[in-house]
Every structure is written in C-alpha cells, then in structure tokens.
Symmetry: C2
Subunit: 148 residues, 2 copies
Amino acid sequence: MKGSVQEQAWRCLLELFFAQRDRFIAVGQELGLAPQQAIALKHLEPGRAMTMGELAQALHCDNSNVTGIADRLEAHGLVERRPHASDRRVKTLVLTTKGAKIRAAYEARLSSAPPGLASLSDADAATLLDIMHRAAAAAPDPGRTPTA
Amino acid sequence: MKGSVQEQAWRCLLELFFAQRDRFIAVGQELGLAPQQAIALKHLEPGRAMTMGELAQALHCDNSNVTGIADRLEAHGLVERRPHASDRRVKTLVLTTKGAKIRAAYEARLSSAPPGLASLSDADAATLLDIMHRAAAAAPDPGRTPTA
DNA sequence: TATTGTTATACTCTATAACTATA
DNA sequence: TATAGTTATAGAGTATAACAATA
C-alpha cells in the first residue's frame, strides 16, 4: 500500500493540493472571478493576443465553452474580442488594463506560500525547489505556459 | 518578483498542480464520476457513516449542494442514505460495496506519480517526502482526513 | 426557537451537435 | 469541403433563500 518513494512523495503533494483547492476558489471569488475565469485569465498574458481556439486548448475544454467564458470576462471589462489580422473567421482575446490588473492581483495572492511551506527553513525550501526543478526538467509539460 | 525561497518552491508546486488538473478529471470520467462526486467519494471512508452536513463541511460547500451530489451518487449505486440512530433530522451516507470499489480504483489511479516526479532518484524522492512531512507537521490541516 | 436536509431559483461550467461565416 | 466561433440543449455544481420535520 505504501508504494515507491516517488509515489509516497506524490501522495503527500496531493494532500497539499486538495487542501489548497479552496484557496484558489476563494481568491478568485474575492476578485469576482469564477474558477474557470481565473484560469483563463492566467493564460492570457498582458499584451499577447490569443485566439478563442488557443484558449480552448489551454483550458482543455470545447470551443463552445470559451464563447461563454469570454462573454463573461468581456462583460466584466477584463478582455476584449478583436478580429484576426489575416483570417476573418478567427477572433482574438486581449486583456484590458483592468483585466491585466485583476490578473496580477490574482497571481500575487496565489503566490504566497501556504503555512506549511512558509514555515520551512530556507535550506529545506531551497532543496525542495531544486528537486522540483529537476522533476520539471525531466517531464516538461508541452501544453503549458511557464509562469515561474 | 522572485520572492522568498519558500514562495518560489510554492509556485513550482503550483505549476505541477495545474498541469495535473486534467488527470483528476480524466480519471474520474473513466470511472463515471463528475469531479465533485470523486471528491465526495474520497471523503467517504468505507464502513464509516458520514452525515450530509459533515460531507458539506468536507466539501466546503452548502448543505443544499450535497443533496444533489448524494442523489447522483445514490442513483449510480455508490452510496446509501441511512437514518441517524439518535437524531431523526439527520441522514447519514454509507458507501456501498460498489462505491468502495470505485473509490479504491480512483485512489489507485491517482496514486501513481506523474512523469516528472516518477523520474526522480530514490534519494531525491525521499528528501522531497521528508521535507513535505515537515511542512505538513508544521501546518496540520484541521478539516482534512489524512489519506497517506 | 434552532437545526437538518430538501426544494426552488439563478448562474457558471461542461460536452455534443447544429449553424454561420469565412477559408 | 473544412475550419472558427456561435448557438442550442442538457447535465453537473454553486450559493441563497424558503420550507418541512425534528430537536
């Protein structure tokens, strides 16, 4: 039942993740963002236009969902729909100034470490960071935009 | 922008978390579980009755939602509603045999480490595990059932 | 009176399928 | 014909408020 050391470490991280789930939701709520809206914002980097389809891929959901998510973000003045330069079927999404501000606020709130991690010694934290870097290097996530 | 070593480590873990999101959903889907149903099942330990209210607290959602989640789990034959021994207002939820099986399958699927972690050396994984244990000990999550 | 679970309502997110306007 | 985005539909999850049965 214990499994390899790697699996044990993974289960330990899993616990942390589930324990932090509420925080993601709560931080979003304080900023007026539903969960998927927050994640969508995370993928929309300031100044970089993204097509609806690209966002759908990033969110791993159907194109049709992105229509609604973009609608709601646009209704809150966080993004703008703009025509594509060369293909008139395509629409791109761009963060507004307000959108960029909310996005930064969300990232800032989430970037503070949870109590357990925050209480680690600098040496432990540095070791942890080092090991995670090695893990990330061993299995780079192809579809993801590196935030760190 | 970099922050303390603890914050850097946290952001690194955050990346891993978001990258693994789809896996949680996909594994649930293969077993016919919507995301919250999977999480509910996670909290329902075999042989231990849980009241609707307790589950609502564990899921950090309103009691009214648990009614629907329990309805759907019951419709799939995974849980049973039973009266409480001493308080007739209360209903308890108990895993069925099928429910316990699905729950075990879900846990088993999720417990295998993702590629990056799996490729760590035993020494790295053991160090990681050790540090995570220290972090968990420093900030025990009050509301959570320890799975590990 | 207070509490447990339910119902009613309204909004968000999800996938599928049909539609439109382009290509 | 194929593709990008939209609309329509149906199911799941969410919070709030009102309700029944019980405490």
